[in-house]
Symmetry: C2
Subunit: 106 residues, 2 copies
């Protein structure tokens, strides 16, 4: 029984990125900082799960939540450097998808 030679850092990264919605939220924030409701309608995630994901991503240091005291108050989510550093990963997926994924018309 040869046990997992899988690097724990890699495993942790994978478990982060393979949570549903996580990659899409990051991808969405890659273009620009956004508000809760913008992310929500852009990717079609429920408020509950988006709320969960943003908290996790914040804890993980990938996303920053900022309260902008305009009137009315704006709550803006943006990527930290760590978050932005995932861009190559997302781009690699994007690239791959253009070559290998087909969408069947129905």
């Amino acid at each position: 029984m040869k046990q997992s030679a899988i690097c724990p850092k890699f495993e942790k990264a994978i478990s982060l990125l393979s949570q549903r919605w996580t990659a899409l939220v990051i991808y969405q924030l890659l273009s620009e900082p956004q508000r809760f409701s913008e992310i929500q309608s852009a990717i079609g995630i429920s408020g509950k799960v988006l709320s969960d994901r943003l908290k996790e991503l914040e804890q993980f240091g990938l996303v920053k939540r900022e309260v902008i005291p305009e009137t009315p108050v704006i709550i803006e989510y943006s990527l930290t450097d760590k978050g932005k550093s995932l861009e190559p990963v997302l781009k690699a997926i994007e690239n791959w998808s253009q070559t290998w994924i087909t969408i069947e018309a129905d």
Copy 2:
């Protein structure tokens, strides 16, 4: 209400890769073709879910299942070209994880 400008191919790729275990299974097969039980013990996935994932990946054209009529019979799973083409994606994640993920000792 500006609706999803997200590319459907990208979205499909993301929904594939952000299913739990999918990326790890592919990563594992990247090194060499393997048998069911090898994958299972290497990444610590349950038989049930591995079975599900392998079927999905086969349907998706990423993995090939081959019955090798040795004695005893060997069932070998390997990546197709489409599967292998995910290597840059997995490597990008691996790279990222080495720079940005920390494992806390406890």
